[in-house]
Symmetry: C2
Subunit: 157 residues, 2 copies
DNA sequence: CCAAGCTACTTCAAATATTGAAGTGACACA
DNA sequence: TGTGTCACTTCAATATTTGAAGTAGCTTGG
């Protein structure tokens, strides 16, 4: 089965994974969140080959996650920016960063810190229950499948 | 440049991506969070080929993200479970799910809902500033590179 | 007691994707 | 005229993934 079929699954994770769930897309997203806009910078900082970067940017463009816009004429040069849909992926990158800091850190100091523009506080983006305010870990959660999703999984037997 | 070199970057995102940043690892994680433990179930529900699943489980095992433990003798059969390190990846999967629900949903109803065991409330895991309590979006954040990280990026010029 | 089935894989050839190096075209700057 | 930059594309070599088939050890039904 190909991932193309997977994304037909009635599963939001599968669809998100289909859109951005590969090494280079994630690295490109990281770089875009860090502020790079140009092909060259994206290539240098992510380490992707130009071929691959070109492909990934096209794919992300087709998904509406990045926008390719000209920033000069003569010659036409393009830059890449996150759309709203792309910006909305920030929790994914933040979660990866956070996990990386906790479990794979090589340095005393985390390489990137995140500050909330509104209040100036340093943010460690821990998911928090909106209702009771407690931080949420995996063991604190119960996942519930919708009837439709349950039926689909049954059908895979 | 290979991703192996990328992960040497002083960057937590790169290291997390190196560990779990590919389609099948993410799908396997989704499945493990949904409660599957057996090779067979993982294969059926993720759609990965057995070859690939075997490789991925080995890789995730080597990273200490899943644990392979026998659940019966005669013959020895193993099941796969998330370690604490693996469980800690839940915000990543949650963020993907959330994004998928918002931007790629095909159904009226989200396929999986998440409930907080502690207070019973339904949780939409929006990152919230621990200081001021406001929900955090990408535009509300300022990213700051550590001096070390900054130096490394300079060196890549 | 024999055949069929289950689980957890492995093996293999064919298809597909990625890498690294080199090349291109349009211009700017000296 | 010559060098440099940017944003790619092209290409051959290499690596990975797929899909189908196979295997080993045991269980279950008749």
């Amino acid at each position: 089965m190909a991932i193309t079929d997977i994304c037909k699954q009635h599963c939001s994770v599968a669809q998100a994974v289909h859109a951005v769930g590969d090494t280079w897309s994630l690295m490109v997203l990281r770089e875009l969140f860090l502020g790079s806009r140009r092909f060259d910078d994206l290539q240098r900082f992510t380490g992707a080959s130009p071929h691959l970067l070109s492909k990934r940017l096209r794919a992300l463009g087709a998904e509406g996650i990045v926008e390719r816009r000209p920033y000069q004429q003569h010659p036409v040069r393009h830059e890449y920016r996150l759309t709203d849909k792309g910006l909305d992926l920030w929790p994914v990158i933040a979660a990866l960063r956070s996990w990386g800091d906790r479990w794979a850190a090589q340095a005393a100091e985390p390489p990137v810190t995140v500050r909330h523009r509104g209040c100036g506080a340093q943010v460690e983006p821990v998911p928090v229950c909106p209702d009771c305010g407690e931080p949420i870990g995996a063991r604190d959660l119960a996942l519930e499948l919708s009837p439709q999703a349950r039926a689909q999984r049954q059908a895979m037997r």
